[in-house]
Amino acid sequence: MSHWIILPIVLPAMLAPFIVLAARYHIGIQRVFSVAGILAQIALAIGLAWQAADGTVTLYQLGDWAAPFGIVVVADRLSTVMILLTSVLALFVLLYAIGSRWDERGRHFHALYQFQIMGIMGAFLTGDLFNLFVFFEVLLIASYGLMIHSGGNERLRAGVQYVLFNLIGSTLFLFALGSIYAETGTLNMADLANRVDLIGEEATVGIRVASVLLIMVFAIKAALVPLHFWLPSSYAEAPAPVAALFAIMTKVGAYAIIRVYTMVFPPELEATAGLHGLWLLPAALVSLALGAIGVLAAKKLDRLVAFSVISSMGMVMVSIAMFTQASITAALYYIVHSTFAAAALFLITDLARAGRRDLALTPQPVIAGATRTAGLFFIAAIAMTGLPPLSGFVGKLLILDAGFATDMATWIWAVILISSLVSVVGFARAGSVVFWKAQSIDPIDVEEGVDMTPPSALAYTAVGGLVAMLVAHTVLAGHTSGYADKIAAQLFAPDAYMSVVLDTPGKLSDGSYEDGEEY
């Protein structure tokens, strides 16, 4: 049994208390350990992704207890790609936080950051629904701290909303888990898949309720309309690097839907057939449209970016809701794209703060470092709105193509194309007001306590790195979408995953190591 799989969770779990206890007053040492931790995380993620690339599913049994009674951590193609995505994103965001000195504006940024990474990694790796809940809580409690990092009234108020909304979400999650356990007697995902399949036609009421409750919880995380209300103000008010890291948090919800609703409640399962497609696809289309309208209507740059996140999550969910192999492939390609694009835009929004009174979409004097910031905004906006030549366009094409196979094709095409146009208009207007019209304003009131220090080179490097990831995702689109197709193929043949989880021998409930067959 390989112990490497648990390391992405254990490493930040050890590093965070070390940073709090040993390096509490030395921001320099905190930075070194934090960056080193994330670099090690990337190396681990590459190793695990390499291991899973040929389709191997690796299992780690905690305490050596056999599933379904023991807790398991499972690494397959999907989880390893998600942890690789998280660690690469975390590196650039961390570099930005250091470069822009956001980490000095409050205490314990680096420790909370590591805990946040731990929660996200755990959520991607766990093979057990209750542990998914626990890791959701770990990542949420760290995110509460990060969200209100460096304080301020607006931020605290947005923080209260964010925490309350997520607490209600967690309660719902527990209700869902309770109903699932009451119906099936297990919470291990592989075991659950077997048992849900056995439920007879006459007793499906409980499991149908549980399945809808569960998808609602994940939809809250994925900010699907009408459960998106927590997102705009919390993302807009959160410190920029935190908002950029949160770009992966909505994807945790999308990941959970992909994982649970391809394995435990697959589309062809009789007990829940037609239960999700009925409203998941319309809700996703509404999110997409509403996000685009929000982009057009936003009066501040940070809110505009937050609404573009809702729109791109709508796009991801449209693709997931079709539940075909082609559509999951498209969704995975788009998830990677949208994570980097959203993170880059949140950081660029912060860069645009240098020398502006606020982020309102009104002409204000030229900001410090305007050329570079404007250039980066231009590229990231092209990516986010899905214009050629960047990866947003490729992802959108894949989704549109997958849409052909469904009977909602007209709706999918119409909503995606029109909302893209609306987003383009919204971003073009924002860019021209913030960066272009600034040229015609006299820089008279610069002295009014506005900080005109240009952002540091490290901050630009970090944003540049994210943009470079988007470019790489476009240039290597053949490879990345090909691999996404392999991931989807593995997801639609969950038997290999289930047999690895359930058939690997381990310690039994009486403490013996006997062959598990007759037990």
Partner: protein
Amino acid sequence: MEILVASAIGILTAAGIYLVLRLRTFPVILGISLLTYAVNVFLFASGRLAVGAPPILRDGVEVYADPLPQALVLTAIVISFGMTAVVVMIGLGAFLGSDTDRVDDPAEDAS
């Protein structure tokens, strides 16, 4: 006993949802506490209600209570307790900073 437990969960949930929909921080936090109590009892009941049955293996015992929900409830209690403490602190900070404990956005920034 089933009726008692079921109606307790129902009443707690209903009261919790009503309070969560209020506009001020304090009732909302109380509502969330009630919801977490409700969900804890619900989780406990998800392993079937059994009176006087041991949850661990023993010689000569035929009827067992399901031990797993008890472990789940412990985890859920710890997490919800911690989360409530966090939200009280953040809510208090927001109230002291802005002199209002409303949870909604002020009208001018709801763009």
